[in-house]
């Protein structure tokens, strides 16, 4: 039996080299864009960008402000959803941390409580999106307000000093320095990036996420557990947000209930700059990590180059649009 022999050839790459370029077009594109931005910073501000200090600073701030949440947000977006509520999940998770830490004196239990609260918040998002059937964009605008409001009510709008946490062993594990040099935030980012890559590329969860985002109808016909998968991705994102919230707070040894809101658009931008499609079905962890460091590097780069801070938004905009244009053009060219 041989039912599927093509009689007419559709346009497709002819050599193995173009076949390679086709499958990796998105990653190659983002890498080239990243190198172009980096080189222009080196040329314009050699003193800053040829020293290791700025990279150690990036390695500390980019993970908790952008990258860790972006990893799992990537998976949510690949499955065709989106989660805008993560900044509030960061703060709500910290409420869990603060209350548990104050009650027990244990930072470790506090971290677990934060992760638990983040998971519950993600579960809430997932249930609202899949069982009530509200589009994720709309639902998570609602839960963004809801979680933020809940945080403010629970802590009465107060901030908390967390200086006393810095003696706990897990403090160094989370926001210390490996060998006195490498920020632990960066180590955690690497670990979580590997975990996220495995989940997305070598696990049922990722396989199902890609199929759901690409063709939800097909996913249903082929018996893929659509609701369960989407909910799991929201839960993972909630937990990632809670972890990022803990890191942010421990880093500055302070928790304030409006934390995280400045991270919302940069994190989303990192995912899209990295080549993840807003329509679902397409995206990579590699692209998101590179995108996170591009987005996270711009502000410091602008200051180092000697421009005033007023230029920041303009250059953010230009870089975001340039990067997503590269993805769009590559896609048209190769597919």
């Amino acid at each position: 039996m041989n039912p599927g022999v093509a009689t007419k050839r559709s346009p497709r790459p002819r050599s193995a080299l173009t076949a390679f370029t086709t499958s990796w077009a998105s990653q190659i594109g983002i890498t080239v864009a990243f190198l172009a931005l980096w080189l222009s910073f080196i040329v314009l501000a050699p003193n800053t960008f040829l020293s290791d200090r700025i990279y150690l600073a990036f390695a500390q701030t980019v993970p908790y402000s952008v990258a860790i949440v972006a990893l799992f947000l990537t998976m949510v977006i690949i499955a065709g959803d989106i989660d805008l509520s993560f900044p509030s999940e960061m703060a709500l998770g910290m409420v869990g941390f603060v209350f548990t830490w104050q009650a027990t004196g244990s930072v470790e239990l506090g971290v677990l409580a934060a992760l638990g609260v983040g998971a519950l918040a993600g579960l809430f998002n997932g249930l609202v999106v899949t069982y009530i059937g509200i589009p994720a964009l709309v639902a998570t605008i609602g839960s963004w307000y809801l979680f933020r409001g809940l945080t403010l009510v629970l802590v009465n709008g107060k901030s908390y000093a967390l200086v006393a946490t810095s003696t706990a062993p897990s403090y160094d594990l989370l926001v210390g320095k490996l060998g006195g040099v490498i920020p632990m935030e960066f180590v955690w980012l690497l670990i979580l990036a590997v975990v996220a890559w495995f989940l997305l590329n070598r696990h049922r969860l990722g396989q199902n996420a890609y199929v759901i985002g690409d063709n939800r109808l097909a996913a249903g016909l082929m018996g893929i557990p659509i609701r369960r998968t989407r909910i799991a991705l929201f839960v993972l994102t909630g937990m990632a947000a809670a972890l990022a919230g803990v890191m942010t707070s421990l880093q500055i040894v302070n928790f304030y209930p409006t934390m995280g809101d400045g991270f919302q658009l940069p994190t989303l931008a990192a995912v899209f700059v990295g080549g993840t499609s807003v329509f679902g079905g397409r995206g990579t962890i590699y692209g998101t990590v590179i995108g996170a460091f591009m987005i996270g590097g711009i502000q410091a780069g602008i200051v180092a180059v000697g421009l005033t801070d007023y230029y920041t938004n303009m250059i953010y905009g230009a870089v975001i649009l340039a990067a997503v244009s590269v993805h769009a053009l590559l896609q048209r060219r190769f597919e």
Partner: protein, 316 residues
């Protein structure tokens, strides 16, 4: 006489002869309550649907449909848009749950059928290219919904790629060097996509293969190949339900044609006893029945030739 084809037993040679006369054809809608079931020994019943009904938001898509499928049998399922073909298929494949009625596999009643359960019972469906994920590589499409992996859910990607490569060269006839298991589906031609969809269904040892409009968008040669392939299903002792608009395609491969009309079985026609011309005129009559206004549709007995009294009450 009402409708000739319902059940082979008890029909004399004369009756069979008279059934061949187009003038003797009754209005198919009258026979709407006839089940599409053939008398056969129990061991040969692969699939039975009994009194299946399904409504979506108050619209009755299927009304008391009974049907069976034997081993080594190919059924052609015909009917207009909205006749309920797709819904019936989705009930067999576990996508939809019926509101009433029961489903039996190999004579055993199955409750709460899901897609996974149906697949476990040997049902595979060729949903045409609609059920392919365009941006994903071939291997992810082949193993969609049944990825090979360990107990923790981690995938054996190498195994799946190797199996895909083997299927591509042996079953799909993909010989082009640039087509690898990693190629995304987007660039494939209609025939290649169809090949992928069929091989996906076949690879998993299906006993019941459902082909949903498989000839749509295929070239003549590709269609021919597809029909040969359906012949192969029967030869291999498996069963198939072949859904199509095109009666010419269905007639050439099906053992029996079941006509659905507005959610009911309008009749069944073994292709050994009905010529293509007869079936065409039957189909025309079903189609004409559908040309009435919505209200008249369900009491078509009035004014139609050959209408048996009594049956119309069921439609009022």
């Amino acid at each position: 006489m009402t409708f000739p084809p319902a059940g082979e037993s008890g029909m004399s040679a004369d009756e069979r002869e008279s059934a061949r006369q187009p003038s003797q054809l009754a209005n198919p809608i009258i026979a709407a309550l006839e089940p599409a079931v053939m008398p056969r020994p129990e061991g040969e019943r692969r699939l039975e649907l009994r009194h299946i009904s399904k409504a979506f938001g108050g619209v009755h898509v299927l009304k008391d449909v009974s049907m069976d499928l034997g081993s080594s049998e190919v059924i052609g399922l015909l009917g207009d848009n909205g006749a309920g073909k797709s819904t019936l298929i989705k009930i067999i494949t576990g996508v939809h749950r019926p509101d009433a009625g029961e489903i039996l596999f190999g004579g055993r009643r199955v409750e709460g059928l899901t897609v996974q359960k149906a697949r476990g019972l040997g049902v595979e469906t060729v949903y045409q290219e609609r059920a392919l994920a365009d941006q994903l590589p071939l291997w992810r499409n082949i193993f969609m919904g049944r990825a090979v992996g360990g107990p923790l859910g981690f995938l054996k990607v190498g195994d799946m790629r190797r199996m895909t490569a083997k299927l591509m060269s042996e079953s799909m006839g993909f010989t082009s060097a640039v087509l690898t298991p990693n190629t995304v589906v987007k660039g494939l031609s209609g025939g290649e996509r169809q090949g992928l969809a069929i091989v996906r269904a076949l690879h998993f040892q299906a006993d019941i293969i459902i082909l949903d409009e498989p000839t749509m968008g295929l070239s003549l040669r590709e269609t021919e190949k597809l029909l040969q392939f359906v012949e192969g299903i029967r030869t291999a002792g498996k069963s198939a339900i072949f859904i199509d608009h095109n009666i010419f395609h269905v007639y050439s491969v099906a053992d029996r044609i079941v006509v659905l009309d507005r959610g009911r079985v309008a009749g069944q026609f073994p292709t050994s006893r009905y010529s293509l011309d007869e079936l065409l005129s039957i189909m025309r009559e079903v189609a004409t029945g559908g040309a009435f206004t919505e209200q008249e549709r369900y009491r078509p007995a009035a004014g139609l030739p050959g209408a048996a009294t009594g049956a119309s009450e069921d439609h009022a």
